[in-house]
Symmetry: C2
Subunit: 874 residues, 2 copies
């Protein structure tokens, strides 16, 4: 028989997969002898069983829950539903990976008409007891039954109005008793049956609700954004209630062992006296900094400091803890490795090594590669910023800088961002429903909430810049304005926010790219030490190449020559080439492009200082270079002295039903070998020129869209003949190689044959993903929504390599390629090259390098180090 329910003291704290993060750490803290309200964890297996059984909780699990409940009752001497000493519990989700705020929590469970009196007696505080009960009815109805909170709020408002009071706290015990009766009546009316009085019924209802919440839409979105598999399921933690709201000697708070914004080694947190935990997180009242606790409750503070320090040493990482003080006694409700900004992550990692708490490798693993993105994001230019006066100040909730127009809701932000607008999401406070809007906004600004409010926590997790708790904002959602110190801003006004200082500015401010220095550099040095996978960049311009080189790129993995073709000064010659009627005309037009391409390559070679530069030959279908609009066609007609009709005929002749699968890539070089000749000449002549100035160019010519070895053999023969001719003309040799992109399934399947010609493979996983899935990225939007909704896909295959399908083709191709050319160089140049999970995959299957956009280079370097630390390459 499978054991589905474990007391905290029975559970194995190292098994997060089974007990979830929260449950595992409660077990650990229990074992460390810390003051943890006891309880039990229902395993993630029970959750997956719930789904496997068709969303039904089995009798087996129920029996085990009740058995553990009985044990707990015996231990605490309290009893479920008791009129003297009632046992009350919280029911919380706890997944393997932290998903803050995504799933449901129920507090005060166990209250009913009888036990509420027990609680009143026990606490000698009937008002408190009734307030707990009415909150429980409200929360249970919302979370378990699905009756919206607003119905209950309406009832409260009615009573407050009748009583002539404004705040909930002004209601008396009797008012609350009346409220409870009205709540229950409303429940009966809505549900056709009484609010459940049996605490066991309540408990199972709550457990099922938590299981269900694993699959609520916002949790699904969060998982997709964070690559958490949908089949992991959540554990459920049932824990004895302790009360932070039992008066002024009670309280609740959250704290980090180090500063999650910058990594400083100081206890960092907030607390509220006479409050429950949700009040702190919700950001409705503004809490006090944790340091105040030292003055008001020195003993509790000392105990908390000791526990904090012990936890940090035990887990060898910065901790994020929740605690409650019940009538002067400290209880630890949760600890976990704290989410932190990239800056903090880097500083903490370096400090932990300095402090001897962990090794360099362990320290590297504590930094999420993706997070580095934040450090690479532009910041406001420090010199410029001095010239501007902030219009307001908030809390520096998540670092980085952002400029954008004001959006008033998450939906609006999503819509406007999709239309290419930069927006700042401005909200009174954020809630889990806002997650998608927060993700697409450039920054988030809230009027309410502290550094641990929802907005702050989520923004830091996303690497999105955030300023929270700016009380000076007066938001008029309906009027669509924000008033700050008397000045009105509309949805068309730009504002700029600095998440590192909390400052808010009107208009847009200039930004700069940060440098890699200090602890960031230390981390990069370590990462370079522990990785074997090389990191290159995708760059078409000298500017991008320089940025990437400065970030540590070891070459260019993909230079898309067609981007150069589109430049205004060149497009005329390109169009002349396309409109050419004979090979001679085409060659004449190409001759005009040659010197420009050559100069492009010279500049790129120089920026790469002897690292290899991979140049992909012309790839897109030719019609992309021709104008579509009438006036542009007319202009071109004048310019080229070709009739409008003829140009239109050419455009019509080049029309394709499926351009993605049309006349492009090496197919262009097969039909018009003179294009490949020109490009080869540019590559080789540029190399000769740079070498003459002391350079040491390694040119890699990459033939795109190859699906058959004979295709590559043909184009390669054109390249090699031309290259040899150019070198003979110049009387010097340069180092160059010829390889191919593997981006067509057939190329992967026949990679052993292709490798007999290709000196390197570069996996073009963008196109390979499209062809392997059989859907075009441009068209998939029409159905991908349904696919996410129905949980058919859990992540965007264009952002994260589909390792099962596309990845298997990559693996097959790598293996086959090596079988006929053991020394073949293998790289990846699709956008996936900057995705850490894909980089780990590339390391594991033995690729030589990954290539990514310049700003992703440090991320890729760290991810490559992670991959080799986890699975050292022999």
């Amino acid at each position: 028989m499978t054991k589905y329910v474990y007391l905290f003291k029975e559970a194995d704290g190292s098994n997060k997969a089974l007990f979830g993060g929260k449950g595992a750490n409660l077990a650990e803290m229990t074992k460390l002898g810390m003051p943890v309200p006891q309880g039990f964890t229902i395993t993630t297996e029970a959750c997956t069983k719930y789904y496997a059984d068709g969303k039904k909780i089995s009798q087996e699990v129920i029996d085990q829950i009740f058995a553990k409940l009985a044990e707990l009752e015996a231990e605490t001497g309290k009893k479920f539903g008791d009129s003297e000493n009632p046992f009350l519990v919280s029911v919380r989700s706890g997944a393997r990976a932290s998903m803050p705020g995504m799933m449901d929590t129920i507090l005060n469970l166990g209250l009913n008409d009888v036990s509420v009196e027990g609680l009143a007696k026990l606490t000698n505080n009937p008002r408190f007891a009734y307030d707990c009960y009415r909150r429980f009815i409200q929360m249970y109805s919302d979370v378990v039954i699905g009756i919206g909170k607003n119905f209950f709020e309406k009832i409260i408002d009615e009573i407050k109005e009748r009583k002539g009071v404004k705040l909930d706290t002004e209601l008396t015990a009797d008012d609350l008793k009346e409220l409870i009766e009205r709540y229950k009546a409303f429940y009966l009316q809505e549900q056709g049956k009484d609010f459940p009085q049996d605490p066991k019924v309540q408990l199972i209802g709550a457990v099922e609700a938590v299981f269900r919440s694993w699959d609520n839409p916002r949790a699904i979105v969060y998982r997709r954004m964070n690559n958490i598999p949908g089949d992991w399921g959540t554990a459920v933690n049932v824990q004895s209630m302790v009360f932070g709201n039992m008066g002024e000697t009670s309280g609740t708070g959250v704290a980090f062992t180090r500063n999650p914004s910058n990594g400083d080694k100081n206890l960092y947190g907030e607390y509220l006296m006479n409050a429950q935990g949700e009040d702190v997180v919700a950001g409705i009242r503004t809490p006090s900094p944790i340091s105040h606790l030292k003055e008001t409750n020195p003993e509790v503070y000392a105990q908390f400091v000791e526990i904090s320090s012990k936890l940090e040493r035990y887990f060898k990482d910065m901790q994020d803890m929740e605690f409650t003080i019940e009538r002067g006694k400290l209880y630890m409700l949760q600890t976990r490795n704290g989410k932190r900004t990239a800056l903090s992550a880097i500083n903490v990692a370096v400090d932990l090594v300095k402090e001897g708490l962990c090794t360099e490798e362990e320290a590297l693993l504590k930094i999420e590669p993706k997070q580095l993105d934040d450090l690479l994001h532009p910041q406001f230019d420090a010199k410029e910023i001095k010239k501007h006066k902030p219009i307001a100040e908030g809390l520096p909730a998540s670092p980085g800088a952002a400029c954008g127009k004001i959006a008033f809701s998450a939906e609006e932000a999503t819509e406007r961002a999709a239309n290419g607008e930069d927006v700042i999401l401005v909200r009174l406070e954020t809630s889990p429903e806002d997650i998608e809007g927060m993700n697409v906004a450039k920054g988030i600004l809230t009027a309410r909430g502290g550094l641990t409010s929802h907005a702050a926590v989520v923004a830091r997790g996303m690497g999105r810049c955030c300023v929270s708790g700016c009380g000076e904002l007066v938001i008029d959602e309906e009027g669509r304005t924000v008033t700050i110190k008397g000045v009105k801003y509309t949805d068309q006004d730009y504002i700029s926010i600095d998440g590192s200082t909390g400052n808010i500015y009107a208009g847009t401010l200039p930004m700069i790219v940060p440098q890699i220095s200090g602890n960031f550099k230390t981390i990069m040095d370590w990462a370079n030490k522990y990785r074997v996978l090389k990191v290159r960049t995708n760059a078409d311009t000298p500017h991008d190449a320089k940025t990437a080189y400065d970030f540590g790129a070891e070459g260019i993995g993909l230079c898309r020559t067609e981007h150069m073709f589109f430049e205004k000064t060149r497009i005329a010659a390109v169009r002349e080439m396309i409109l050419a009627k004979t090979v001679e005309q085409r060659k004449a037009a190409l001759a005009k492009i040659l010197p420009m391409q050559k100069n492009d390559f010279i500049a790129l070679y120089k920026e790469m200082h002897g690292y290899p530069v991979t140049i992909r030959f012309l790839d897109p279908p030719l019609h992309e270079f021709l104008p579509q609009k009438e006036e542009e066609i007319a202009e071109l007609s004048k310019e080229m002295k070709i009739s409008v009709e003829e140009i239109k005929n050419t455009i019509a002749a080049l029309h394709e039903f499926n351009p993605m699968m049309g006349h492009r890539g090496c197919r262009l070089a097969v039909t018009y070998p003179e294009i490949a000749e020109m490009q080869t000449r540019a590559v080789i002549e540029a190399a000769i020129a740079v070498n003459k100035d002391g350079g040491n160019v390694k040119a890699e010519i990459m033939i795109p869209l190859v699906g058959e070895v004979k295709e590559l053999r043909y184009v390669k023969s054109v390249v090699v003949e031309t290259a040899e001719k150019v070198m003979e003309e110049a009387g010097v040799k340069v180092e160059y190689s010829v390889g191919t992109m593997i981006e067509i399934p057939r190329a992967a399947i026949t990679a052993d044959q292709i490798a007999t010609e290709a000196e390197f493979f570069s996996f073009g996983t963008n196109d390979l993903t499209q062809m392997t899935f059989g859907f075009s990225r441009d068209d998939a939007g029409k159905f991908l929504g349904s696919y996410y909704e129905k949980k058919i896909y859990e992540s965007d295959p264009f952002a994260r390599l589909d390792q099962t399908g596309v990845g298997e083709l990559v693996r097959i191709a790598a293996e086959k390629g090596k079988s006929t050319r053991p020394a073949i160089k293998l790289g990846i140049c699709g956008e996936h090259g900057g995705d850490p999970s894909t980089i780990e995959f590339c390391h594991n299957i033995g690729l030589t390098y990954v290539s990514c956009s310049p700003f992703r280079v440090p991320i890729a370097i760290l991810a490559a180090a992670h991959a080799n630390i986890k699975n050292p390459r022999k």
Copy 2:
């Protein structure tokens, strides 16, 4: 050291791969003691070496050729270039597979200014010798050097004019001597050097020319049409010349051991006295039937009959032989298994078994499955034909019937056929350059040439209907008319030709589909006995289903439901469904389609008499069902009472960049599950209805375009829920299964996962080919020409399965599918399902069935038998 050159008596006649068909059989005949002019064969390996060495014949090969030449000279007592007893040879190609007329031949090689005198003395016929020499110069200049024949023809014409004669034969020995001088002068002028006098130089030049001709454009086209690999290369046969043109006791001819048109067991052939072989094949003079030889040369005839019969018994197949009579002595120049019509193939095969010459399995292997196509081609309706009087009569050169408009050249035929016209190619005579035009024409009609003329041989090989040698045709190519008995026909006039009778009719005649009976039935019975692969059909209509069932289909492998959606009476409801704004509206529209679909399926089930029927759910993107033209949109707007603007908006919203990779297939069912519900209901309700009438329906529901198991799981759950509901409503059960098409590379790669849900796989190799190659069939036309020209592709991957790439995915998927569901049913339903080489592949990798168009069913049955005879399935 590799041996590249073998005397006929040294060669291994069973090794056609090395010696080519002609060389191998010359070796066999030599061993059988038949009168074969001796010579040697240069192997196919020498040809592939020639290409590998960059189109250069190596010294090694040259040395071996000269060594064998010396042996031959010693043996015959003749000497190359000798003034007394000159050694003359023919140089002919001889590939592994017969490629008649595709490559080059040079006769009379060895003649020069000296040896021509030797020949004159030896034959005592100077005119003959000079004629040989001038022919040789002409042929050599054309084939080896590339100086067109027309230049030489001009010189002849000049001399004839000056002499006042009309025919070549009227020129005297002196005239010919002058001609030779002028030829040589012209050669010198063109080439800047003398016509080669050294026979050894001539020989190597000729050998190289034959090697080169392996890669001439018409040979490449022929190979692509006949699936002959481009890397096989050709052998070269150098053989002592014998002369059929040494006067009236000499002659030359070709003959078959049985009738190649109908298989009758009679010697069948033609000969010409005082002629060289080329004269018979070229069709310029009309030859006599072989039976005449009995009267004119009874001894030679008896000898030839004996040899024929011996060859047929030896090769166990009908032989096609070339012979020459030199001054009364018979020489055998060639024998090979005779090309024959499908009818002849079938009759010969059955007869050979009856005669005890071979087994049923051997007999089956003698019939090319593709040939059966001819027997399945429509014939003129025998009853109707009686009512029509032929306008002319020619020779029944290749059976079958055809109607079409007149085309005057191969180019014209190609162009007009590409535009969808049915054309009959009408020519004075055909030549190898015409091959592409012959292939696309419905039929071929020539004014000149016998039953073994180029037109006749090639047309039979292609299964194209042909009437040859119709002397009544007066063709005016420039005026673009054909006059028959005074009546003019233009390129816009239809004619009908009957290749089985030789009759030609004006206009079009009604045709009928033939039945399987007689020997054809015997062959089909044998094929059914020896195959294990099942054969199904792709059919959307009861008519197609019936045709296929009558031809032996064992079920429907693919019913495309969308073809039914396009029907005029239904398209309104389909459009209503697409324009629906809500699920309810969509369901209402679908409810209108339901009864029609149900009736479709009832009809199909009935025609299949209990065999399985695979129904593919809606596949094409929805925009395909909407009108594109303004007037159609206006009409639809009126019909549906929806504004034109709204319809245009819907069309615009449904627009896709790459429809091939867009919102189609099961993606439709995922977004609109109500479509799948309706189709399931139609499938099951139809089955219930047919079973009620005593049917035994096996419905197979096929979900298209699956790429991920969860996708199939979702759609399958919709199908199964609906099916169970329908059966519960009716209170009966029907047999049905749910499977998928494997047509997306990712489906093949993850087939093990997909098979956990799919009860069968059907390989949709049309789409799988597109996705695997990464090109769209609609767009590939723009570059495939270059690919064929540059020999990157040798066959159309949509006609013949690419076994290396696409086939490998099919193999992987079959293997993976079986790994998780050993009893999985595996089929193929792409157009490749009717291609014999693909069928053999499907047999070898263990598929359960192939599915093809109705008229391909007998072909598939025979191909399946071939596959199992060659490689019996355990």
